[in-house]
Every structure is written in structure tokens, then in C-alpha cells.
Amino acid sequence: MDYDSYPSCSLDARRQAQAGRDNIYLPDQAVIRKIIRENSLVNTYELTLVDELANHRFSFEPGQFMMISMPHLGEAPISFSSSPDSKDGFSLTIRNSGRLTAAVQKLRPGDIIGVRGPYGRSFPTDRLKGKNLLFIAGGIGLAPLRPLIEQRLAQPDETGSLTLFYGSRTPEDFCFNRDFSRWRQDGLDLRLTVDQAAEEWNGPVGLVTGLLDGFPINDGTMALVCGPGIMIRFVLEQLQAMGMEAENIITTLERHMKCGVGICGHCHMEEKLVCIDGPVFTAAEIPDPENP
Amino acid sequence: MAGLATTFGSGAMTNTINELEEAQVILVSGSNTTATHPQVARRIFDAVDKGAKLIVIDPRKTKIARRAHIHLQIRPGTDIPLLNAIMRCILDENLIDDLFIEMRTENYLAMCDLLLQVDLNQAAEITGVAADDIAQAARMYARAQRSTICYCLGVTQHVCGTANVKSYANLAMLTGHVEQEFTGVDPLRGQYNVQGACDMGALPGVFSGYQAVADPEIRKKFEEAWNCSLPADPGLTVVEMTHGGEDEGRLKAMFIMGENPMLSDPVLNRVRTSLHGLDFLVVSDIFLTETAALADVVLPAACFAEKTGTVTNSERRVQLSHKAVEPPGEARADDWIIQEISTRMGYPMQYESTREIMEEICLLTPIYGGIYHDRLHASWGLQWPCLDRGHPGTPFLHKYSFARGFGRFEPERHVPPAEPATTEFPFVLITGRRYHQYHTGTMSRRSATLKRERGTPLLDMHPEDARRLGLKDGCRIRVRSRRGSVPFTLHLSSHMDRGELFCDFHFHESPTNVLTLANSDPVAKCPEYKCCAVTVEVDHD
């Protein structure tokens, strides 16, 4: 609504309305359409903004995140895990790791959460077109990579080879395993590894870095890495040791955040702010590679 | 406090906090100063930067101990043998202050007799501190012109708490390090207005200003002023009240104002039984504490920002704190509550403001004689004794002479802890505070930032002990003593000595005082919080 066209509206009320629209700290409401259980700790939530017009306008890029609110528990940054091209809403994949996320686990379809965003720098989707992409993920780290995988698989003409090395603690802990066969059918080379062997497990046991040995790296290869900080650190080191340029290795980082828009200062990483300068960084850009 | 009262005649901090900055040697004992008295620690850090020497006596490698020139890491409860050894060294090297002892003290010969029996090697063995370190500390303390001693509950919360304090006073008198600016013996008071509560006579044996209820003259003065007759026998102490249990003659009713014995008192199971056994319990507090939850009537009180009144800090500084906001809902200040109850019980009390109450205090309390609200309005307080309107207050005590006349040496011998470690209970547990929390956590746990900084109860253990027991940092464990068991999260800390554990008592989900023992000092009635035998096991719940 354009308040300037309402002469009866007082200046202050107009300012208030303007302010409400510009208020970066004010969450929107999103309704949970569907909850998909990924493993004992992780669920994926399919969400739609309650405001129809806002929902219509809403768009995001792979790698961006939302600040989600739970009543009385504050906010936390969560990456998108659905394809940006999907028509109805978006998905967030959330691991039970604190008070807020524990409360999220108790929600049911139809419940409402608060969301602000999308925020942050996305993956450089243009640079990825036509490249051979090597995705390396650990645990819930596959979530922010999933939109990219879906996007690339949907545009086979502009996509080189796609490989995913995915490591998890146990075979039960893989997220998105319902997608695996479809992804394989669509041409993704998917290799899984677990930290702890289980009886029914035939695949490799060990860290995801173990899968990297002998992987062919050429000029057209780009790597996309996400997982626990310690895993990111070792994978980045190994990829560079294998001869990859730091600019071609891309990762996404996690930090404590309060505002999500570069003001509150919590996610400072040397001179960068993870919320606006990231969360997506190339290995060359990570300010503190020892401590990603 | 009783210890200092016997030796010096007054149980308060002898100096101001700022004087610490000018001391040449500071001896800190039983105080995790950076956590519990940050402003005192600040002066000590500044003094050390200016060249002062720091000696710390503490079983733990606390932050202040890590800053010390000499850290005497004693076994818990061995202050007396350590101090006797220090004094023996001072005597041997002839570093005593003859003139001071002659002019200002009494009972020196008895002290000497005791010191001459001290075996330094035996002392080293008991305390776990090398004889060389003891001698070095003795020299350092005795040789300086301006040495000062700060101690806290690590000294007093022992079965021999009073004797411990006396020993520190003995040391100060032996070397003449008292009665001057920049030197003295300073007990650091832990809570907001603990000094004031004592000064005001919230004690079983004294009226305001430490005027004994047993003294007929004094009782007469108060009877005339209050127009009533007063009981002569000193009453029960806090632990005697909360440990009445099922005894015949136990208390039948209690009025508790702003205290939380259900977390702060030793052997909580006994406290619970006692409070449950009451016919009537009334609690006035700002939050529904663990104690208030047991009450028959709970009265909502105003917090410090919602009322005007005076408080007295550790250095005897009486200060006026102003009302800033209205209490929430129907909450009212405690003075209103007391007046209402008293009036309804047939003893009318009608003060128009706390100013009027203070005027009565001035009238009846010599040490507060000149501390009127209007004098505090534009100043940051007056230090008692302040005898009349013209009196400027007293920054340091015992100038020219001790409050009791002569300072009295009180020779003391080692009293072993009431509950030493055994095979079954191989660890010695020390309890205390953490920096970000305060007392039973009623206020500090409701502060979002403080809760974030320290939100869970931790048990500190030496890494080697943990390795031996196969325990990892951060694991859930249970600490068990002869009286009960309490869950904690394990925190490995090389600042602990082997065989010793430390935990806080801020958290109701880990009520530390289920573990502690009721044995207390026979004079001061301080429970032995700094030393009880426990064992640690993995928590399977």
C-alpha cells in the first residue's frame, strides 16, 4: 500500500507503516506444510509464507539462509535445502542441537514459525555452469548443497559431470536418502561413506577425505564442500594439495548470528562477516582457514 | 568474624579496598578474588603492576593465584599449620615487630611457646607445601613495610574457621602489619549487604552495632527506646534453625525475608525436613525461590532498584541506594511488609520513610551514630565507625589502638577437617562461586547474559584424576557423599590439585548442599563448606 497517496494519514503513521515495512528485525510467519524425517536428529520442514503476496514475491538463491524464530527462544540461521525453482515455498533442514532446534522438532504440520530472510551471499551459480562439480558433504552439511544439486540436475545442458562424496556417522544418519536413487538416475555419481561400520553396510568406512584419493581434478573442476568445521578444514587442505585452485573450492560456513544482516557483529571472522560476506566462501576467501 | 573480634575487637575489614593498591605485599587466602570480589582483584592486579608482591594461599590455582609471586597450594583445611610454620620462620629469622608486640598486644608469650613447638618439616607434610616456599612467603610478608592480608570464606567455612582467622590475625600482629593505612587484615564479605545485616543486629546475640543482647545495660537502653521488654538469651543461628528437624522443641514457625536456605544451607535434606515440619512458614522474596515454594504464605517484595535505603559494603561503607522504578504489580518493599505485620500483631510500627528508620538506627547504634540519609545524598557513603553528624567516617580501623584495647594473640593448633577423604570417598570437595553467577542464582540466573555465560553447574576435576576414572570432559557425572548425591557436568581443569574437586552452588538442579556436612565452627557456626569427602561416578540417568 502506498501511504503517500493517503493525505489523511498522518506523517507519523506513515512513518510507522514505512518503518514496519523496512524493519529488518520483524519476522514473517511461515506455515509448516510437511515434515520429512531425515534421521533421529534431523528433519526437513517444507514451509510457505502465510502472507500470500509475500509468498508470491519470495525467492532465494542456493547457499542463502533464513533466520527462524521460535516462541520465547529467539532465532537461529538455517540454510535453504530445497531447489530455488520449486514452486511452493521452501525447505529448511534442521538438526536438533540446541534449545531452539529442539523445540522445532516438536512442531507439527500446520504450525507456524517466524522467518526472516533470505540473507547471505549465495553460491556463484553462474560460475558453476558447465563445470565438473565435486560435492563433498558431511552429515547435515548436505542440506545447503542440495539446492545446487537439484538446480544443476534440472539443467543438464549447462552442467558437466556431477559427483557427490557424502559421509555420515552411521548408515542411518544420511540425510535426503530418498533423493539418492533419483539423483543417480539423473547422472549424479554418488558415493557414500560412514565413520562407523554397521552390519548391513557394504560401502566404504572412513572419513569422506578417504574418497578423494585418485579423484581426477582438471581445470574445469569445481568443489563444493559443507560439513562440520573440522571436516571442511581437512577437505580444503586436501583438495588444494591435490592441485585445485583455492578459487575453485567453495564452502559454506556456520557461525553464531543474531541479526543476519551484518550489524550485530556475532559472526565476525577476521575482517569478514559470515552473514553478508558469506556464508558461501571460496577457499581463497576464508579469513581463518584453521578454524572454519 | 568472631576470630577478628576476639583478637582485634572488631570483626570487619580493617582497611578500604583502595588502600590495597598501595600495599607492598598482599597475602590473599581462601578467596577466588577475581570471581567473587572483582573490584578487590582489580586493586591487587594494579598493585602488582606497580611492583607489589602477591602471595596466594589456596588449594586451587585460581586466576589470582596464577598472578601470584608465591602460590602456596595447601591441602584444604590446613591453614593453621601453614600459618604457624610461616610465623615460626618469621620468629627464627627475627623478623618480628618487637615494638608493636610490646606496645599493642598481649599474650605474646603463649604464642611464642606454641611457635617454638612447630616442626617445619611436619608442617610441610601436612599442608603439602614445600618448606622453602613457606619460608620465602614468610620473609616476603614480614620484610615489607606495608603488608596486608585479604581472606574470604575459604578461611572461615571450616570447622576451625574462627581459629583460622585468629591465626591470620596472629601473623599480622607478629609483624606489626595492622593499625596503619595500607596494611591490615581484611575479611572480604561475600554478599550485597552482608556487612549491613550484621551491623543491624540481624544476628542472634547482638542488637545493631554489635551491642550484646546479654548485656543488661544495653538491653535496658533498647527496652527504653523501644518501650518494651526484651529477651536476654541469645537466639538460634541459621543452621540451628534450618536443621531443627523433628526434634522436640524445634521451631514451629519461620519468617524468611529474602533468603534461600533450600539451596544455601548445608545438608539440604535436613533443611527440607525442618521446613516441612513447621506449622507455618512465611517467605518474602522477589522470585518464587526453592524456599518460597515451601511456604504457606509468600509475600512479593521489591528489589534493590525499587526502593530507597542504605547498604553497607565489605569495607564498612554505608551507601544510599535510590528508588529508580516502581515494583511490579502489587509487590512492596520489605520495610512496608515488616511494619504491616508488626502492626497487625499488636506492635504498631509506622515510619514514614526509610529515612526515619535510619534516624532511629543512628540514635541507638554508636558506630552508625552520624550516618543520616541526608549526609549520603550527595556522597558515595560514609565508613563506620561514624559517631556523630560531624564525624567524617573511618577508612581504616584500629588507628592508635585496637578496638578491644590490646590486640590479643590467640595461639591455635591444627584441627583436621571433620571429614577427611577415605577409600570409599576419595575426593575432597570444595564449594564456592563462579564469576558469572551469584549465590543461589535467584537473580543472576534470570539475567539472560549471565545465564548464557554460565548456565550449567560444573564440577572441576584434575585431568589426571579424570583419566584414571575414565571420565571425559563434559560428561554427566554424579557426586556422592555420605549425605546424598548430586548430578554435575564434568569440567577438566589443571587448576585443581589431584584428589580435590570444586563445584558451585548456584543451581537448583545441582543442589550442592545436599552433599556438604553440617559440622560447623563451634564459635562462628560457619559450616564446613570448603571440605567434604565425596566420590564421583558416571551418571546413567
Partner: protein, 367 residues
């Protein structure tokens, strides 16, 4: 020339009284305890305006209060309700045009830094903007710097070249007046509107002002090589020993970040109301020296050691802000000096690393 005027000291109060009708007034006031603080002045006749001491607070809390409710929220507590309710309603501060007078150069410069943080990015902070919009600054140059000041070294004082609406310079006891420069339209408007209080500045006045500015630079008692420190850090030097020492000293009070006029980090927390069905989202000052500042869910903390936290604070001021904004974000006000529990302050840090740097060079020459 209207841009430079003089104001007789006798006219300061009458001028403020006039301005007080148009603006809320904020200025340095000495209270009964002898503390000087910037406070809101509802009645000019009942306060002791103090232009001699450094105010112990900065202007930070006027634009960015220590705690501030951002929004209220309501929640449907009925578990069986078909459409759950969870909505937010902004609690915007009122916008009150305010005239800040007697503002020191460091404090105004800090406001300019805050403007950059809160309003300079892609997303504007409207809470800050609400309090900030319409603010007029009448600054006062420091003829005599205070004991711990070093704004000459941070290059934002003792006199300002820009940023003020009006800048006053004390022309000394003989003249008993202020030299007044208008830096922005608001200042110029004041000069135009209240001409009767002002007199055109003479060439001599301008000379005197210039002289005062020169002399003030010689009166700093702290010699602090801020530029050298920035260079040392820019080279990538890690002052490990200094940080190790500081971490033994730091006692986690957070006071340095709270007192600092350019420390703007904050936290946001929800405060549930008694009825469970509503609450407030509150922002409050936070400090990078607290361990909880960077702790993530699941207790993982990328910056867990105290020395890394101290490093973060000093590096932010002296390195990262230089990289991002071209200048250190320390404004040399000296407020954090002498107030630290363990003697960790920015002067000590700068001295430690510049001395270490000098030592390094000496050694190098020796070889």
C-alpha cells in the same frame, strides 16, 4: 562570513534555552557526586552544565540503548488450535529531534562510525535511525586533552574538520567567548536564526582558534602510536605473547566493550511474559570478550580461548576496520584506560605491539 561567528559565553545558556524549545537537549552535566555524564536536560536551570571534564559516558546509549525492545510477539498457547498464531509487532522508539551540545570530537566521530554500521549497509537498522534522525550536534573542541586521551593519534581530534553542525572552540579567558564554525545546514540555520547571540568572527579570532588547535596537539599526555600498531597488524604479525599475558589479566567483565563509543555488537533475546502467550524480543549490548558471544548451539565455540577473544576485539578496532573502512575504529577517547580489572586496555596493547615491533627492527639492524 556567516559560517564563522563568535558566541560570548554569557549567551550560551540563553541560546540553549531558545534551542531547547525546538529540540530535546542533551549535554554534559556534572551531578552531585562529581560525575559528569551526557544526559537529557529537561530544565536548564536545575543542572550544572560541565564543559570542563570529559563525560564518562559517550553518546552511544542515546542512539543504541543498552537494552531496547525491538518487537512484541503473541503466541497461541492453545495446542489444539487449527491455525496457530505467532506474530510480531514492532516497538519503535519515538523520533525526538535532539540537539547534542558540548559533544567532544571523539564522541561525534563515534556517532559517524555507528551511522556506518547501522545505516551504511544494505540493510538499515530503523531502530537506530528512529533515534538518530534529526539529531543536531554542537561539538566542543578540546583545547586541553584529558589524561588518557589520544585522539590525535587516531586522527579524529582534538578538533573536527567535518561531521559537526556547529563546532565551538574556547577562545580563552580574555575573550570569554567561543569561536563557532558551522559545518552543516542545521548549524548554519542556527547561526542565521539566532544572529543576535552571535558576532562575526574576526581574523584574530580565526588565528586564535588555529593556534589553540595547534597547541592542543602538544598537550596530549599519552604517546600512542596507533598508526604503527595498525601497520604491524597489517603485516600479519600475531602478538602471541602480548595476548597470552592479556588473557591472564582479562577478567571477563566486558566493561571495555560497553564503555567504548564504537563497540556496537549486540545480542537479541526473547523475554517471555508471565502469561506464556506473549513476550518481547529485546536487543542488548553484547561484547566479543564474552565466551558466549560466539558459542553456537551444541556448545561448539569457534573462538573459545580468552586470548582469541581479546585478539578479536583489538584486531577489529585496529586491523579489520582499517581494511574495511580505511581507518581504525578506536577514536582515542581513552575511556577504556584505567578502568580494566586487569590493566588490559587499548593503549597497553598498542604500546606492547609497537614496542615489540621496534625491538624487532632493532634486532634486524643488529644483524
Amino acid at each position: 562570513m556567516i559560517e564563522t561567528q563568535t558566541l560570548h559565553k554569557d549567551y550560551l545558556l540563553p541560546l540553549l534555552r531558545k534551542l531547547g524549545k525546538q529540540y530535546r537537549l542533551v549535554g554534559p552535566v556534572r551531578n552531585r557526586f562529581g560525575d559528569t555524564l551526557y544526559i537529557e536536560i529537561p530544565d536548564l536551570d536545575r543542572v550544572d552544565i560541565d564543559l570542563k571534564q570529559q563525560p564518562q559516558n559517550s553518546l552511544k546509549s542515546f542512539f543504541f540503548p543498552q537494552t531496547e525492545a525491538l518487537s512484541s510477539y503473541i503466541v497461541d498457547t492453545e495446542p489444539a488450535s487449527p491455525t496457530q498464531l505467532y506474530s510480531f509487532h514492532p516497538l519503535l522508539p519515538e523520533n525526538r529531534p535532539t540537539l547534542y551540545f558540548g559533544v567532544r570530537s571523539c564522541d561525534l566521530f563515534a556517532v559517524l562510525y555507528m551511522d556506518m554500521i547501522f545505516l551504511g549497509g544494505k540493510h538499515r537498522d530503523i531502530y537506530y535511525e528512529q533515534r538518530r534522525r534529526g539529531a543536531v550536534f554542537v561539538t566542543l573542541g578540546c583545547n586541553e586533552p584529558f589524561a588518557n586521551c589520544f585522539c590525535n593519534a587516531t586522527k579524529n581530534g582534538p578538533f573536527l574538520e567535518f561531521g559537526f553542525d556547529l563546532q565551538l572552540t574556547d577562545l580563552g579567558p580574555a575573550k570569554n567567548s567561543y569561536f563557532v564554525e558551522a559545518g552543516k545546514a542545521n548549524g548554519l540555520n542556527i547561526l542565521k536564526k539566532w544572529t543576535r547571540f552571535f558576532t562575526d568572527a574576526t581574523k584574530e579570532d580565526r588565528q586564535f582558534q588555529y593556534q589553540a588547535a595547534l597547541e592542543a596537539r602538544g598537550l596530549f599526555r599519552q604517546l600512542v602510536h596507533v598508526d604503527l600498531a595498525c601497520q604491524e597488524l597489517e603485516k600479519g604479525n600475531e602478538p602471541e605473547e602480548v595476548l597470552a599475558d592479556f588473557s591472564q589479566r582479562c577478567q571477563d567483565c566486558g566493561g571495555c566493550t560497553f564503555i567504548c563509543p564504537t563497540c556496537t555488537c549486540f545480542s537479541i533475546t526473547d523475554h517471555q511474559a508471565k502469561d506464556q502467550g506473549s513476550g518481547e524480543r529485546i536487543r542488548s549490548w553484547d561484547g566479543c570478550t564474552f565466551a558466549g558471544f560466539t558459542r553456537m548451539a551444541g556448545d561448539h565455540n569457534p573462538i573459545d580461548l580468552r586470548r582469541h577473544r581479546i585478539r578479536k576485539r583489538f584486531f577489529h578496532k585496529l586491523k579489520h576496520d582499517v581494511q574495511k573502512h580505511g581507518r581504525p575504529s578506536c577514536v582515542g577517547c581513552g575511556r577504556c584506560v584505567d578502568m580494566c580489572f586487569g590493566g588490559v586496555d587499548i593503549i597497553r596493547f598498542i604500546n606492547a605491539i609497537t614496542e615489540a615491533g621496534d625491538l624487532g627492527r632493532d634486532k634486524h639492524r643488529g644483524l
